[in-house]
Protein backbone atom coordinates (compact mmCIF):
# COMPACT_ATOMS: atom_id res chain seq x y z
CA UNK A 1 0.00 0.00 0.00
CA UNK A 2 1.30 3.43 -0.97
CA UNK A 3 0.31 6.76 0.47
CA UNK A 4 0.33 9.98 -1.51
CA UNK A 5 -0.16 13.50 -0.37
CA UNK A 6 -2.04 16.30 -2.06
CA UNK A 7 -1.89 19.84 -0.67
CA UNK A 8 -4.58 22.50 -0.98
CA UNK A 9 -3.38 25.98 -0.14
CA UNK A 10 -4.50 29.56 -0.59
CA UNK A 11 -5.82 32.52 1.31
CA UNK A 12 -8.31 32.29 4.13
CA UNK A 13 -11.75 31.87 2.61
CA UNK A 14 -10.46 30.62 -0.75
CA UNK A 15 -12.29 27.32 -0.25
CA UNK A 16 -9.63 24.81 0.73
CA UNK A 17 -11.89 23.06 3.22
CA UNK A 18 -14.77 23.03 0.73
CA UNK A 19 -12.52 21.63 -2.01
CA UNK A 20 -11.30 18.79 0.18
CA UNK A 21 -14.86 18.06 1.24
CA UNK A 22 -15.88 17.85 -2.41
CA UNK A 23 -13.68 14.82 -3.10
CA UNK A 24 -12.86 13.30 0.28
CA UNK A 25 -14.52 9.98 1.08
CA UNK A 26 -14.54 10.86 4.76
CA UNK A 27 -15.82 14.03 6.37
CA UNK A 28 -13.00 16.52 6.49
CA UNK A 29 -11.25 16.68 9.82
CA UNK A 30 -11.09 20.36 10.60
CA UNK A 31 -9.21 22.48 13.07
CA UNK A 32 -11.47 25.49 12.81
CA UNK A 33 -12.01 28.20 15.40
CA UNK A 34 -14.27 31.21 15.54
CA UNK A 35 -13.15 33.81 13.04
CA UNK A 36 -12.05 37.05 14.70
CA UNK A 37 -11.09 38.78 11.46
CA UNK A 38 -13.95 41.16 10.69
CA UNK A 39 -12.87 41.45 7.05
CA UNK A 40 -13.74 37.80 6.42
CA UNK A 41 -17.33 36.83 5.83
CA UNK A 42 -17.21 33.50 7.66
CA UNK A 43 -17.93 32.32 11.16
CA UNK A 44 -15.14 29.75 11.38
CA UNK A 45 -11.63 29.70 9.99
CA UNK A 46 -8.97 27.00 9.82
CA UNK A 47 -5.97 27.61 12.03
CA UNK A 48 -4.29 24.23 11.81
CA UNK A 49 -5.01 22.06 8.86
CA UNK A 50 -7.81 20.21 7.14
CA UNK A 51 -7.55 16.57 6.35
CA UNK A 52 -9.47 14.33 4.00
CA UNK A 53 -8.75 11.06 2.26
CA UNK A 54 -9.34 9.07 -0.91
CA UNK A 55 -8.80 5.29 -0.88
CA UNK A 56 -8.16 3.35 -4.06
CA UNK A 57 -9.15 -0.23 -4.77
CA UNK A 58 -5.56 -1.49 -4.46
CA UNK A 59 -5.29 -0.03 -0.96
CA UNK A 60 -3.36 3.08 -1.97
CA UNK A 61 -4.44 6.24 -0.21
CA UNK A 62 -4.32 9.90 -1.12
CA UNK A 63 -4.16 12.15 1.90
CA UNK A 64 -5.68 15.54 1.22
CA UNK A 65 -4.25 18.35 3.33
CA UNK A 66 -5.51 21.90 3.50
CA UNK A 67 -3.00 24.39 4.83
CA UNK A 68 -4.01 27.16 7.19
CA UNK A 69 -4.53 30.29 5.16
CA UNK A 70 -3.01 32.77 7.56
CA UNK A 71 0.57 33.68 6.76
CA UNK A 72 1.53 33.40 10.40
CA UNK A 73 1.22 29.66 9.94
CA UNK A 74 3.38 29.59 6.81
CA UNK A 75 5.94 27.38 8.58
CA UNK A 76 3.37 24.59 8.17
CA UNK A 77 3.14 25.00 4.39
CA UNK A 78 6.52 23.43 3.74
CA UNK A 79 5.91 20.68 6.28
CA UNK A 80 2.69 19.73 4.52
CA UNK A 81 4.19 20.04 1.02
CA UNK A 82 7.08 17.70 1.72
CA UNK A 83 6.80 14.69 -0.58
CA UNK A 84 3.44 15.85 -1.92
CA UNK A 85 2.59 14.78 -5.46
CA UNK A 86 0.79 18.03 -6.12
CA UNK A 87 -0.06 21.48 -4.80
CA UNK A 88 -3.36 23.20 -5.56
CA UNK A 89 -3.28 26.96 -4.97
CA UNK A 90 -6.77 28.42 -4.57
CA UNK A 91 -7.27 32.14 -5.09
CA UNK A 92 -10.34 34.10 -4.04
CA UNK A 93 -10.89 36.66 -6.80
CA UNK A 94 -13.22 38.72 -4.63
CA UNK A 95 -10.33 39.78 -2.41
CA UNK A 96 -8.59 43.12 -2.73
CA UNK A 97 -5.49 41.93 -4.60
CA UNK A 98 -5.77 38.35 -5.88
CA UNK A 99 -2.55 38.63 -7.90
CA UNK A 100 -0.64 39.55 -4.76
CA UNK A 101 -2.31 36.62 -3.00
CA UNK A 102 -1.02 34.28 -5.70
CA UNK A 103 2.43 35.81 -5.39
CA UNK A 104 2.40 35.10 -1.70
CA UNK A 105 1.85 31.38 -2.20
CA UNK A 106 4.20 31.13 -5.17
CA UNK A 107 6.90 32.62 -2.99
CA UNK A 108 5.94 30.43 -0.05
CA UNK A 109 6.27 27.28 -2.18
CA UNK A 110 9.04 28.53 -4.46
CA UNK A 111 11.44 25.67 -3.79
CA UNK A 112 8.70 23.03 -3.96
CA UNK A 113 7.42 24.35 -7.30
CA UNK A 114 10.73 23.45 -8.93
CA UNK A 115 9.65 19.82 -8.81
CA UNK A 116 6.13 19.39 -7.49
CA UNK A 117 3.23 19.77 -9.95
CA UNK A 118 1.02 22.74 -9.19
CA UNK A 119 -2.20 24.22 -10.52
CA UNK A 120 -3.87 27.55 -9.75
CA UNK A 121 -7.65 27.60 -9.25
CA UNK A 122 -9.35 30.99 -9.37
CA UNK A 123 -12.57 31.13 -7.37
CA UNK A 124 -15.42 33.65 -7.41
CA UNK A 125 -14.25 34.91 -10.81
CA UNK A 126 -17.74 35.02 -12.32
CA UNK A 127 -18.86 37.82 -10.02
CA UNK A 128 -15.36 39.28 -9.84
CA UNK A 129 -13.92 39.03 -13.36
CA UNK A 130 -10.96 41.31 -12.63
CA UNK A 131 -8.17 40.32 -12.66
CA UNK A 132 -8.90 37.95 -15.53
CA UNK A 133 -7.57 34.41 -15.80
CA UNK A 134 -4.97 35.56 -18.31
CA UNK A 135 -3.71 38.22 -15.90
CA UNK A 136 -2.67 35.41 -13.56
CA UNK A 137 -0.83 33.66 -16.41
CA UNK A 138 0.97 36.88 -17.24
CA UNK A 139 2.01 37.31 -13.63
CA UNK A 140 3.27 33.71 -13.60
CA UNK A 141 5.24 34.30 -16.79
CA UNK A 142 6.86 37.35 -15.16
CA UNK A 143 8.11 34.91 -12.53
CA UNK A 144 9.28 32.45 -15.22
CA UNK A 145 6.58 29.99 -14.21
CA UNK A 146 4.24 28.17 -16.57
CA UNK A 147 1.39 26.81 -14.47
CA UNK A 148 -2.17 25.98 -15.43
CA UNK A 149 -4.66 28.60 -14.29
CA UNK A 150 -8.36 27.77 -14.38
CA UNK A 151 -11.55 29.25 -12.99
CA UNK A 152 -13.12 27.00 -10.36
CA UNK A 153 -16.08 26.72 -8.09
CA UNK A 154 -14.81 24.39 -5.39
CA UNK A 155 -18.35 23.61 -4.30
CA UNK A 156 -18.57 21.56 -7.49
CA UNK A 157 -16.77 18.23 -7.21
CA UNK A 158 -16.10 18.23 -10.97
CA UNK A 159 -14.06 21.41 -10.67
CA UNK A 160 -11.93 19.95 -7.90
CA UNK A 161 -11.53 16.72 -9.86
CA UNK A 162 -10.31 18.76 -12.85
CA UNK A 163 -7.64 20.34 -10.65
CA UNK A 164 -6.50 16.88 -9.56
CA UNK A 165 -6.58 15.63 -13.15
CA UNK A 166 -4.29 18.47 -14.18
CA UNK A 167 -1.84 17.52 -11.43
CA UNK A 168 -1.86 13.93 -12.64
CA UNK A 169 -1.25 15.10 -16.21
CA UNK A 170 1.72 17.16 -15.04
CA UNK A 171 3.20 14.17 -13.22
CA UNK A 172 2.67 11.92 -16.24
CA UNK A 173 4.37 14.50 -18.44
CA UNK A 174 7.33 14.51 -16.06
CA UNK A 175 7.63 10.75 -16.37
CA UNK A 176 8.00 10.68 -20.15
Amino acid sequence: MNEYKLVFTGTTGAGKTTAINAVSETPTIKTDVANTDASLDKALTTVGLDFGQISLTNGDRIRLFGTPGQTRFDFMWKILAKDAFGIIILIDNSRADPLADMDLYLTGFLKELETIPCVIGIGRSEKNPTPGIDDFSIRLAQRNLILPVIPVDVRRAQDVILLIDILMAQTEADMI
Partner: protein, 214 residues
Protein backbone atom coordinates in the same frame (compact mmCIF):
# COMPACT_ATOMS: atom_id res chain seq x y z
CA UNK B 1 -3.19 18.12 -57.18
CA UNK B 2 -2.42 21.69 -58.26
CA UNK B 3 -5.67 23.62 -57.71
CA UNK B 4 -6.66 24.28 -54.13
CA UNK B 5 -10.18 23.65 -52.97
CA UNK B 6 -11.83 26.66 -51.38
CA UNK B 7 -13.68 26.39 -48.07
CA UNK B 8 -15.76 29.53 -47.54
CA UNK B 9 -16.86 30.60 -44.07
CA UNK B 10 -19.58 32.85 -42.70
CA UNK B 11 -20.25 34.09 -39.18
CA UNK B 12 -17.23 32.54 -37.52
CA UNK B 13 -15.26 34.39 -34.86
CA UNK B 14 -11.52 34.93 -35.22
CA UNK B 15 -10.33 32.10 -32.94
CA UNK B 16 -12.57 29.70 -34.89
CA UNK B 17 -11.21 30.98 -38.20
CA UNK B 18 -7.66 30.56 -36.88
CA UNK B 19 -8.41 27.07 -35.66
CA UNK B 20 -9.96 25.91 -38.93
CA UNK B 21 -7.23 27.55 -40.95
CA UNK B 22 -4.70 25.66 -38.84
CA UNK B 23 -6.52 22.38 -39.37
CA UNK B 24 -6.52 22.89 -43.14
CA UNK B 25 -2.87 23.84 -43.17
CA UNK B 26 -1.50 21.14 -40.91
CA UNK B 27 -3.59 18.05 -41.48
CA UNK B 28 -1.51 15.45 -43.27
CA UNK B 29 -4.71 13.74 -44.40
CA UNK B 30 -5.92 16.86 -46.16
CA UNK B 31 -2.48 17.26 -47.67
CA UNK B 32 -2.86 21.04 -47.91
CA UNK B 33 -5.60 20.73 -50.53
CA UNK B 34 -8.02 23.16 -48.89
CA UNK B 35 -7.75 26.85 -48.11
CA UNK B 36 -10.13 29.03 -46.13
CA UNK B 37 -11.68 31.96 -48.03
CA UNK B 38 -14.16 34.69 -47.12
CA UNK B 39 -15.13 35.73 -50.64
CA UNK B 40 -15.25 34.44 -54.19
CA UNK B 41 -16.09 31.00 -55.53
CA UNK B 42 -15.91 28.10 -53.10
CA UNK B 43 -16.20 24.32 -53.08
CA UNK B 44 -17.96 24.19 -49.71
CA UNK B 45 -19.21 26.69 -47.16
CA UNK B 46 -18.92 26.47 -43.39
CA UNK B 47 -21.61 28.50 -41.67
CA UNK B 48 -23.84 28.86 -38.64
CA UNK B 49 -26.66 30.26 -40.73
CA UNK B 50 -29.25 28.39 -42.75
CA UNK B 51 -29.60 31.45 -45.04
CA UNK B 52 -29.03 30.80 -48.72
CA UNK B 53 -27.44 34.17 -49.44
CA UNK B 54 -23.73 33.59 -49.04
CA UNK B 55 -22.45 36.77 -50.70
CA UNK B 56 -19.65 37.76 -51.06
CA UNK B 57 -19.05 34.00 -51.26
CA UNK B 58 -20.25 32.16 -54.35
CA UNK B 59 -21.05 28.52 -53.82
CA UNK B 60 -20.27 26.35 -56.84
CA UNK B 61 -23.21 24.38 -58.24
CA UNK B 62 -23.78 21.16 -56.25
CA UNK B 63 -21.21 22.26 -53.68
CA UNK B 64 -22.26 21.43 -50.10
CA UNK B 65 -23.00 23.65 -47.11
CA UNK B 66 -21.41 22.46 -43.85
CA UNK B 67 -23.55 23.65 -40.98
CA UNK B 68 -21.96 24.37 -37.59
CA UNK B 69 -24.09 22.72 -34.94
CA UNK B 70 -23.95 22.02 -31.24
CA UNK B 71 -22.91 18.48 -30.44
CA UNK B 72 -26.03 16.42 -29.85
CA UNK B 73 -28.13 18.53 -32.21
CA UNK B 74 -29.73 16.35 -34.85
CA UNK B 75 -28.82 17.28 -38.44
CA UNK B 76 -28.96 15.20 -41.58
CA UNK B 77 -26.56 17.08 -43.88
CA UNK B 78 -22.87 17.90 -43.63
CA UNK B 79 -22.20 19.28 -40.16
CA UNK B 80 -19.27 20.37 -38.02
CA UNK B 81 -20.13 20.02 -34.36
CA UNK B 82 -19.04 22.20 -31.45
CA UNK B 83 -16.90 21.65 -29.43
CA UNK B 84 -14.88 21.23 -32.61
CA UNK B 85 -12.97 18.06 -33.35
CA UNK B 86 -10.44 18.40 -36.13
CA UNK B 87 -10.80 14.81 -37.26
CA UNK B 88 -14.51 15.35 -37.96
CA UNK B 89 -13.90 18.35 -40.20
CA UNK B 90 -11.10 16.49 -41.95
CA UNK B 91 -13.36 13.48 -42.55
CA UNK B 92 -16.08 15.74 -43.95
CA UNK B 93 -13.74 17.57 -46.29
CA UNK B 94 -12.19 14.35 -47.54
CA UNK B 95 -15.69 13.05 -48.21
CA UNK B 96 -16.57 16.21 -50.13
CA UNK B 97 -13.30 16.06 -51.99
CA UNK B 98 -13.81 12.45 -52.93
CA UNK B 99 -17.15 13.39 -54.47
CA UNK B 100 -15.28 15.80 -56.70
CA UNK B 101 -12.21 13.71 -57.27
CA UNK B 102 -12.29 9.94 -57.54
CA UNK B 103 -9.21 9.15 -55.50
CA UNK B 104 -8.44 9.78 -51.88
CA UNK B 105 -5.05 11.04 -50.95
CA UNK B 106 -2.08 9.19 -49.65
CA UNK B 107 -0.70 10.40 -46.38
CA UNK B 108 2.31 12.55 -47.06
CA UNK B 109 5.43 12.69 -45.00
CA UNK B 110 4.53 15.91 -43.23
CA UNK B 111 3.63 14.23 -39.99
CA UNK B 112 6.77 12.15 -39.84
CA UNK B 113 8.87 15.25 -40.45
CA UNK B 114 7.55 16.60 -37.18
CA UNK B 115 8.42 13.52 -35.19
CA UNK B 116 11.85 14.73 -34.05
CA UNK B 117 10.94 18.34 -33.44
CA UNK B 118 10.76 19.19 -29.77
CA UNK B 119 8.24 21.66 -28.43
CA UNK B 120 7.72 23.55 -25.23
CA UNK B 121 5.29 26.21 -24.10
CA UNK B 122 6.65 29.70 -23.50
CA UNK B 123 3.73 30.69 -21.30
CA UNK B 124 0.32 29.37 -20.31
CA UNK B 125 -2.10 29.94 -23.24
CA UNK B 126 -4.94 32.48 -23.05
CA UNK B 127 -8.19 31.07 -21.73
CA UNK B 128 -9.91 31.93 -25.02
CA UNK B 129 -7.64 29.56 -26.96
CA UNK B 130 -8.01 26.74 -24.46
CA UNK B 131 -11.78 27.07 -24.62
CA UNK B 132 -11.77 26.13 -28.30
CA UNK B 133 -11.58 22.46 -27.41
CA UNK B 134 -12.07 20.61 -24.16
CA UNK B 135 -8.87 18.61 -24.62
CA UNK B 136 -6.59 21.59 -25.29
CA UNK B 137 -6.15 22.20 -21.56
CA UNK B 138 -4.42 18.88 -20.92
CA UNK B 139 -2.28 19.18 -24.04
CA UNK B 140 -1.11 22.55 -22.71
CA UNK B 141 -0.40 20.91 -19.35
CA UNK B 142 1.78 18.26 -21.01
CA UNK B 143 3.68 20.89 -22.98
CA UNK B 144 4.20 23.03 -19.90
CA UNK B 145 6.36 20.35 -18.26
CA UNK B 146 9.55 20.51 -20.30
CA UNK B 147 10.16 19.68 -23.93
CA UNK B 148 7.93 17.19 -25.69
CA UNK B 149 7.81 15.65 -29.15
CA UNK B 150 4.68 15.10 -31.19
CA UNK B 151 4.99 11.43 -30.28
CA UNK B 152 5.16 12.30 -26.58
CA UNK B 153 1.96 14.29 -26.92
CA UNK B 154 0.08 11.53 -28.71
CA UNK B 155 1.28 9.01 -26.12
CA UNK B 156 0.31 11.16 -23.16
CA UNK B 157 -3.02 12.37 -24.50
CA UNK B 158 -4.19 9.41 -26.54
CA UNK B 159 -5.13 11.80 -29.35
CA UNK B 160 -4.17 11.46 -33.00
CA UNK B 161 -1.13 13.15 -34.55
CA UNK B 162 -3.47 15.35 -36.55
CA UNK B 163 -5.20 16.58 -33.43
CA UNK B 164 -1.96 17.21 -31.52
CA UNK B 165 -0.39 18.88 -34.56
CA UNK B 166 -3.39 21.12 -34.90
CA UNK B 167 -2.93 22.18 -31.26
CA UNK B 168 0.80 22.75 -31.73
CA UNK B 169 0.17 24.87 -34.80
CA UNK B 170 -2.38 26.95 -32.96
CA UNK B 171 0.07 27.55 -30.12
CA UNK B 172 2.77 28.44 -32.62
CA UNK B 173 0.45 30.81 -34.43
CA UNK B 174 0.01 32.74 -31.17
CA UNK B 175 3.76 32.70 -30.47
CA UNK B 176 3.32 30.50 -27.42
CA UNK B 177 5.63 27.74 -28.56
CA UNK B 178 9.37 27.18 -28.66
CA UNK B 179 10.32 24.71 -31.38
CA UNK B 180 13.61 23.21 -32.30
CA UNK B 181 14.77 20.29 -34.34
CA UNK B 182 16.33 17.67 -32.16
CA UNK B 183 16.19 14.25 -30.72
CA UNK B 184 13.62 13.51 -28.08
CA UNK B 185 15.13 13.09 -24.67
CA UNK B 186 15.58 9.49 -23.63
CA UNK B 187 15.93 9.63 -19.89
CA UNK B 188 12.97 10.77 -17.81
CA UNK B 189 13.38 13.85 -15.68
CA UNK B 190 14.95 12.99 -12.34
CA UNK B 191 12.86 14.41 -9.55
CA UNK B 192 14.50 13.29 -6.31
CA UNK B 193 12.32 15.31 -3.94
CA UNK B 194 8.99 14.20 -5.27
CA UNK B 195 7.03 11.14 -4.30
CA UNK B 196 6.56 9.98 -7.89
CA UNK B 197 3.43 7.87 -8.11
CA UNK B 198 3.38 4.56 -9.92
CA UNK B 199 1.66 4.64 -13.28
CA UNK B 200 -1.29 2.44 -12.30
CA UNK B 201 -1.96 4.89 -9.47
CA UNK B 202 -3.27 7.34 -12.04
CA UNK B 203 -5.61 4.90 -13.72
CA UNK B 204 -7.00 3.87 -10.34
CA UNK B 205 -7.40 7.46 -9.16
CA UNK B 206 -9.00 8.48 -12.46
CA UNK B 207 -11.38 5.58 -12.15
CA UNK B 208 -12.19 6.57 -8.58
CA UNK B 209 -12.85 10.17 -9.61
CA UNK B 210 -14.95 9.14 -12.61
CA UNK B 211 -12.51 10.60 -15.12
CA UNK B 212 -12.47 9.28 -18.63
CA UNK B 213 -8.94 9.50 -19.99
CA UNK B 214 -10.15 9.18 -23.56
Amino acid sequence: MDAKLHLGYMGLIKPEIDLISTILRTSSRLDNHWILVDDGECDAILTYSAEKDFSPLILKPEAPVIMIKRRGEAFSGHAFYKPFRADELIDTLILIESDEQPSLHQKNEAATNHSHTIYRLKKWPPAELLSLHKHYMLLAVYLSRGTKTLHDLTTLSGHSEDFCMQFLSLMNQYHLLDREAGRPKIAPVHLPDVAMPKKNFFSLLRHHLGLDKS
